[in-house]
Amino acid sequence: MTISGSGNNVTNKSKSILAGELAEKITQGDRSASNEFVKINYQWLLFVIRKKFSQSNNHEDIVQDSFMLVINKLQQGKIRKTQAVLGFLRTTAINIGFEYLRKDKKFKSSIDSELINLIEDVRDNVDVLTNLEWLDGIKKTRKIIDELKMQRDKDILLKFYFEDIDKASVCKQLNLSNEHFDRVLYRAKHRLKLLFYKESYDNGYLKGVKR
């Protein structure tokens, strides 16, 4: 895991501040702000939901419903603290995710079709892995792991990702240096990124290639 993010979070205008401003514009009736609001937050929310509901296959639907519900509430002036809209968006998405799992069916929202079209249009143009690409990526990851030549490298991944053993304990158990551990994780992730890049390049499009 590489940390290269800013601690202060204010670079020109951070996404979180921008999201608050866009939420305020949506509240004031600026419909074009909705497009930008979805666009800048889509990847983030999709990641949060993929992690939270790893067993679900409805990640994109959950995210879409969440945006629809939050934007609808903003349009109706029901969210007063627009600067905290991302916290609300996240909580809404998690609740909808539970709703999907509980009912084993799509969340039913009473949102207008114009908003649905808007979010779907944005989604189609946002640079994220679709559900199919994500599932395909998981298969590719298995292949990469199976192809690792060193049993110890497999053991590292197994202990860290399956058994959830912390890095220090994995290193101690396998008599590894921190550098060796980092190298194995880096190589696995790097190979995965290359695979995505190559596949997208071969297919002649860049959607889904972020790295």
Partner: protein, 205 residues
Amino acid sequence: MDFKPDETMLQNYIQNKLSDVDTEKVELWLVDNPEVIDDLEMDLMIKQAMIIEPRTLQVKKPLLVFLDLFTGRKLVPIHLLAYGLVGLLTFNLFNNTNTKVQSSVATFIEFEKQRGLDNSIIEVRTGDSKSLVLRFFPDSMSKKYSLIIKSKISNQQIEFTELVADNYGSITVTVNTNKFMDGRWEISLSSGPNLVEQYYGINIL
């Protein structure tokens, strides 16, 4: 917001070890750090590749013998099972080579910590698997747990008692797949005689 997670915190995040409050902090921090999301996505993909979809892993016979000890209605000293799994799985987990030793296959399913869920159904294709290894994360801290796996279409029931969580707060049980007939099964995890705290569902295909 001056919050910035360190490497250990991000590792704990990807391993689902953070509190709800810290998880929210990390996720709101990620909004302004999309390059970290890019990296964490790869971690998540590797983790899901190893856990999420019921997966078949080649393991040699000794593991099956070991697992048979914990099948059916027997009491399960879970720490022993977990310890054994660590030792044996790490040794044989990815062994796909053509070995002369007859291999058996286990399917691993991890039930995510999902508070309040009562109808989460996971579809499981057992295929050639001879064992199902099920891992749970109880909400509450209890010394002992009970687990009942009950068929929705027959009276068949598999029960585990005296289960103890491992150091990671998880409970793992193993059941021979021949104990399961196709169809839906309800799994209830209890921390006391009448204290069912979590329900799960699996659909054997």
